[in-house]
């Protein structure tokens, strides 16, 4: 009588082991790929403060909005003298919002969202107020950290930055 090399039951066990090993190898590879990806991303993402010199504080009259630098943001100075560095990126779908001086508001060309001078939403589509950038002062110079935009739902008075306070 010729005996088979492996009984069907044994064969089954063996093939299961193979499948198990295969899955383990696959998972290992996926995990390796994931770590590869994530570790590479972090380096790109590390936020070192990137300070932008916006200008001398007294050059911005109260009630004005000025486009700063290469056009990523506005420096708004409210009537009470407080500063806000407002992102130009619409919170709806990311279009660049121009400041319309005659109507004193930001009007998005894409889906007609409207924001007031503080970045608050006046007309919807946009779900929240325009992002802010942190402001600091070096002497009289307004410095804006453009590396980390701050998300907010609405404008509150605490967001204002005043020149005197910092002295």
């Amino acid at each position: 009588m010729v005996k088979k090399a492996f009984s069907p039951a044994r064969r089954n066990v063996l093939s299961r082991i193979w499948i198990g090993l295969g899955i383990a190898a696959l998972l290992q590879m996926l995990a390796g790929a994931a770590f590869f990806f994530i570790s590479g991303r972090k380096q790109v993402e590390q936020h070192t403060p990137q300070l932008l010199q916006a200008g001398v504080a007294t050059d911005f009259p109260p009630g004005s909005v000025t486009l700063i630098g290469k056009g990523h943001l506005y420096l708004a100075r409210l009537d009470n003298g407080g500063f806000l560095a407002i992102s130009r990126k619409c919170t709806h779908l990311g279009c660049a919002v121009p400041w319309i001086a005659e109507r004193k508001q930001f009007e998005c060309p894409c889906h007609a969202s409207i924001f007031d001078i503080t970045g608050n939403v006046l007309k919807a589509q946009a779900p929240r107020a325009l992002d802010l950038f942190p402001i600091s002062f070096q002497q009289d110079m307004v410095m804006i950290d453009i590396s980390s935009p701050i998300k907010r739902s609405t404008y509150t008075a605490e967001q204002l930055v005043f020149l005197q306070e910092r002295r």
């Binding site: 660049a96 060309p109 894409c110």
Partner: protein
């Protein structure tokens, strides 16, 4: 040897009734042909394209103005890319209506869905490459839609853009996806897709013809009967694409300007439906719940009960209602939305 390999994809003989054009409208073959054409025109364009902001736009201008037949090749690549999305969608529709996704073809349906996603990826990643206002802001809008997904949305968006906003990193990523990731996966999966059709016993014939075939065994040889038809069909499709590309130029707007959004920008047309929906319903629903339930529906479709090999009435209604409303939203978004997303009459 090569012949043996080929016969993994094509049988020697097929039933005569499988030759009928109206059975499949040749949509799958058309898609394969167009993918191949895209590979060729893409390779040509790749010689002169530079994946860097500003340079990218200039290289497209160079291709259009100083390269021999450059404009035509770009037009072909552009229009075929868009046509491909339509053809793949129609292919899906056809397969659904014929119930050709039920076992033993269930796995191939899933492969097909992945191919569909890849085609969308191919088109979307290619959308940014010309680096004009049109592409820059369309991609801005489309990637911003991702941001509405709860929890992971923002990081997903930043991953796609390779940073806070669309710039060099985004362009390089999209270039890599468009020219390496998508083509390689596309061709591997396509081989699988075709081989699966062969293994399931060729394309699905209507039930009554299946019976008739079994009785009569009326079949024809693939070479030349099927091959000649396929070649003729391919020639017609190629001619149509070529003629269209000779007459209509691919659009190229002003160079991308991150500081200025032109009026009336929209997401790429196949995402306009989602964008339109975003105007009407809660964002969570528009970019998350709905697409997700659509995906789940499509993925689990082959495991539903069939009625004589065709999808049942409920499934059919769901599917048709779904595609119908998507179509309606897309058409509204493309043609009936003017500046500031106001409803306009296009004529």
């Amino acid at each position: 040897m090569s012949k043996n390999l080929l016969f993994h994809f094509r049988p020697r003989r097929v039933p005569e009734s499988a030759l009928r054009l109206t059975l499949t409208w040749g949509l799958g073959g058309m898609a394969a042909l167009m993918v191949t054409q895209q590979l060729i025109s893409g390779l040509l364009l790749g010689f002169f394209y530079t994946p860097l902001p500003v340079k990218a736009y200039e290289s497209i201008q160079h291709i259009q103005h100083s390269v021999f037949l450059g404009q035509l090749v770009r037009n072909m690549h552009h229009w075929t890319g868009h046509a491909l999305v339509v053809v793949v969608f129609l292919h899906l529709l056809r397969v659904f209506l014929h119930g050709a996704f039920y076992p033993p073809r269930h796995r191939n349906w899933l492969v097909g869905l992945s191919l569909g996603v890849l085609i969308l990826m191919a088109n979307f990643s290619g959308y940014l490459l010309p680096w004009d206002q049109l592409s820059y802001w369309a991609v801005t809008i489309a990637t911003s839609m991702l941001g509405y997904i709860p929890f992971i949305g923002i990081s997903l968006q930043e991953m796609m853009q390779g940073g806070q906003e669309i710039g060099t990193a985004t362009l390089q990523l999209f270039y890599f996806i468009h020219t390496s990731l998508v083509p390689v996966s596309l061709f591997l999966l396509m081989a699988y897709h075709f081989w699966f059709v062969r293994r399931a016993g060729g394309i699905l014939l209507p039930a009554n013809e299946q019976a008739a075939n079994a009785a009569k065994q009326k079949s024809v040889t693939v070479v030349p009967d099927l091959l000649v038809r396929e070649m003729a069909f391919a020639a017609v499709v190629t001619c149509v694409l070529l003629l269209f590309s000779m007459v209509v130029n691919a659009p190229l707007g002003d160079m991308a300007n991150p500081e200025l959004t032109p009026a009336n920008v929209k997401a790429p047309w196949y995402f306009v439906g989602a964008q339109e929906l975003l105007l009407h319903v809660h964002p969570l629903f528009a970019v998350c719940v709905l697409p997700l339930s659509m995906a789940i529906f499509l993925i689990f479709l082959p495991f539903s009960k069939s009625k004589a090999g065709k999808p049942g009435a409920l499934l059919k209604t769901l599917f048709i209602a779904g595609t119908g409303s998507l179509l309606l939203l897309t058409i509204t978004g493309i043609w009936f939305r003017g500046a500031g997303m106001k409803l306009v009459w296009p004529w």
